[in-house]
Point group: C2
Chain length 536, copies 2
């Protein structure tokens, strides 16, 4: 089995993504998680380009990595300087990582048009930069920027650039499809040439997804002999992003006949968690259709598919979701019907018959709610409550009577939010008021004031996410602010996380409904006596 | 040049996507747009499976398509019936499309485990179903479900299944990677076998993106001789989606040496608009990093890239954005700096010097606002207003003084929203009030009441989208309802669309700020006298 080195550049190329801004703390947290996952290299940033990255390397000097080696990124030296006077190279050395990775030009167009120096001078710069860095690091890698575009236009020059790096002692020659424009078959045949002409060199692959083929290209390069793959978690990166490591790693480990190993034994199943973690730190909405690790990657909506996977999951799943730490999801929708409901019921411990009247009732209720804009596939706690209500669960921990929220701007820059809430708890009417940072926060606080006195466990609930989705498309006469709004609230306590949903044309009322469901679900799940009459 | 037929299944396989629900009207609108784009086939739905699809085909009988032929989807007949008594086959005939596409089993596992019939019987069913349909359609296509998985496990049987379809007269044998688990190189070699063993058959390719390689696989299949590619706009579809036609089409037309043609002359440049349109109808948040047609596909954030593309756009762009109807975007961010500002200024007609004090002022202001959560890359109207303010534009069409919004639930199911607004317009203080469907709608109406009397053109503004983003990640002590909130509002009048942004910890105040910017921008852009002192 051949080890393919995973070189993660989420913290460097990934943060070039339009949607990403990471603080120093964010970067440190991500680095630790990548190390736990067991990647071979973590490219932490470009210390010569900004203070956050400089500080990152400083802080990392006090942290002992378990698996990974830390790499810093930079460029070949400025044509006007000597290596020893180049601030960029010096900042790499000051950063003290195990590895320095420098990029240099291998496309003649960039040498003449961007650097504006003679072609020969660029080869010298590559050589001198690497030779200068070598003694200061365990290893120096060379990113051959635009290698494939360069090869297509001036093959000899592109080859001369990587040969210069090789001769100067670069440990890995990283072939970069910087613009992401090369299709996998062409990329493969170029890699074959490199392998043939430089059989003794180790080479790596760095692709971008502009042609929607970065993962396929990375796999092809490995098959052509590349021993290192560079990419990012979730495919973040400038323009269309980098090769997505969450897809490359499982392809190599699970789909190439057991020929390649990327992560330490047992780590592949952490991939989904890592993907979600990085997404959360970057504060991005997850891409549901993301292969392998996405929330929909093993989600089944069509009725036919659902009945088939219930018999044999191989029928509609290319791998076992658990291999990458993901899970199968059976969705509720009018396309699916009874099979899905039965599957959910089974999960809650009910063996219902297909023709049971309760199944029909639940289906009708769901259909009605979906028509009103409810979406239960991402609000499973709300669905669970609805399910038990229809199964006859009638306990009410508290009953909302009314609320009022006011937001007012008074000749200043700041707005005051105040909520009053009236709820009945254990037969008593509680009337509470609170201000808040925004109307939903004010309602949340007022509602907790009313309920917490009776149920102290409410204090453990934290609201971890709050999402708003406007539902109408362009089909309505007046979309925009008069549209229906769906609010999803994600909550957590020390043991678990749950999501609830509320829908209304009023964003405040939708939030209120999701809040009420969230607190109810907390009380429900912690309640040892939730079933006074039936079911133990 | 070889024509590759594009078979769009957005309206059938695409709607299996977790996030998609299309109404009848939505489907009709999308069909017309696909026809304008010039795809060869539009698979409109599965008339035997639900009433919306049945109605869709009925309505389409009155509509004359310019380019495309309409296809209906169904399955081979039920093993218990004869073809002539099979409701599913009959519903295809009743739908009266030009083409019927039926799927059948080609993986022995599915025949024995899902259908539970002898292998030989399945071949008969394929043959009889196609033979029965043939006389009723211009063409009948056979979707060989799970062809690649079947081929890998029982090659002879998979081949026998497509041969049965071929013998019965299927016009195209569509090889389906239903589970999306086959990597492009393996898929290519299987296609090569099919080509060799059935040289006289026309074949097509239908892939899913579970391995993140659906586009690469589709291109490989075409190179192996496939003359039809099935896929969906934006790659919608169950689990990880189908092959994304917005990536497959440009790859074939622009990246294969001019060997293939997919769309009528001049239509490729409509691709971005079509992608956006379908996204809008489906009411989904666009995937920014989507190759070719995504909003970030040609967006440059890093300072080095920005200066290079200003010299020669080939340096960091794999194709000309205009070839697919997209455009280059230069983003504002602290990674980028002055080059980006100068580029924007140029767009607004200002030739600023790199060292101009105004550039520094603008950069500082932007940095400060970005730290507070503003995001101008998707709120270009707000940026334009900010830009002109800093350039000295001081006109105020109206000045907000204060507002108050109340939402109250009073022992009922519905919430009342009421806003009062006080603004100064042309020296007069206007104090207005309005109810609304939700607090933002109430504010919008009250604000318009105050301003419209002085500026009647305000009545032309429609709010077309309203998005809310909660900004804090998990790094804050108490995220969720106490987080910062960014509101983006998209507005339109008869000529144009613009986006504005507001940020606050209070969702209402953030919305208010975005609303104020939206109306201000409308007045600004329509104002022939916006420059009283300088610039004509």
């Amino acid at each position: 089995m051949k080890t393919i080195e995973i070189y993660d550049t989420t913290l460097r190329d990934g943060v070039q993504d339009v949607e990403i801004n990471l603080s120093l703390t964010d970067k440190l947290r991500v680095a630790k998680v990548l190390d736990d996952l067991g990647v071979h290299y973590i490219e932490g940033g470009w210390p010569g380009s900004n203070p956050t990255d400089k500080q990152f390397f400083k802080e990392m000097q006090n942290y002992e990595l378990k698996h990974a080696r830390l790499a810093a990124f930079g460029s070949t030296h400025n044509p006007k300087h000597k290596p020893e006077n180049d601030a960029n190279l010096k900042s790499l050395i000051e950063a003290k990582p195990a590895v320095a990775t420098i990029f240099g030009k291998s496309w003649d167009l960039h040498v003449t048009d961007a650097l504006r120096i003679p072609l020969e001078r660029n080869l010298e710069i590559i050589k001198n930069s690497i030779a200068f860095l070598k003694p200061h690091f365990e290893d120096v890698f060379f990113d051959a920027e635009h290698f494939f575009d360069g090869f297509k236009e001036n093959r000899d020059y592109a080859m001369a650039a990587i040969k210069a790096a090789f001769d100067a002692g670069a440990g890995v020659l990283v072939l970069c499809d910087t613009n992401g424009g090369t299709l996998p078959d062409e990329l493969r045949s170029i890699c074959d040439v490199v392998r043939q002409e430089l059989p003794e060199a180790r080479f790596g692959i760095h692709t971008h997804n502009d042609s929607d083929t970065a993962v396929a290209s990375s796999v092809e390069a490995v098959k052509a002999g590349a021993s290192q793959v560079q990419g990012t978690i979730n495919g973040y990166g400038e323009r269309c992003g980098n090769a997505n490591l969450c897809s490359v790693i499982p392809a190599l480990e699970l789909k190439c006949g057991g020929e390649y190993r990327c992560l330490p034994e047992g780590k592949l199943s952490h991939l989904t968690t890592v993907s979600q973690f990085v997404n959360e730190v970057a504060n991005l909405r997850p891409f549901l259709r993301q292969p392998y690790v996405g929330r929909s990657a093993f989600a089944h909506k069509g009725g036919i598919h659902v009945s088939a996977i219930q018999r044999n999951s191989r029928t509609y799943e290319h791998i076992k979701p658990s291999q990458v730490g993901n899970e199968q999801r059976v969705l509720l929708s009018d396309l699916s019907g009874r099979s899905n409901i039965l599957e959910k019921a089974k999960k809650f411990g009910y063996k219902l018959d297909r023709e049971d009247a309760l199944v029909g009732e639940l289906l009708a209720e769901l259909k009605d709610r979906e028509n009103r804009g409810y979406e239960y596939s991402s609000a499973e706690a709300s669905f669970e409550l609805l399910f038990y209500r229809i199964m006859g669960w009638s306990k009410r921990y508290f009953t909302p009577i009314n609320f009022r929220v006011t937001d007012a701007l008074m000749q200043g820059e700041e707005v005051m939010s105040e909520a009053t809430v009236m709820v009945k708890v254990r037969g008593q009417v509680e009337h509470t008021a609170s201000t808040g940072e925004g109307p939903v926060n004010a309602m949340d606080r007022a509602l907790r004031k009313a309920v917490e006195r009776f149920y102290p466990c409410i204090s453990e609930v934290r609201l971890t996410d709050f999402k708003v989705r406007v539902l109408s498309g362009t089909t309505q006469a007046s979309p925009g602010t008069a549209s229906h709004v769906r609010v999803l609230i994600e909550s957590a306590d020390k043991d678990s996380r749950w999501s609830t949903v509320g829908v209304s044309h009023n964003i405040i009322f939708a939030s209120w409904n999701a809040l009420v469901d969230s607190l109810t679900y907390k009380l429900f799940k912690d309640d040892p006596r939730k079933w006074p009459n039936h079911k133990s």
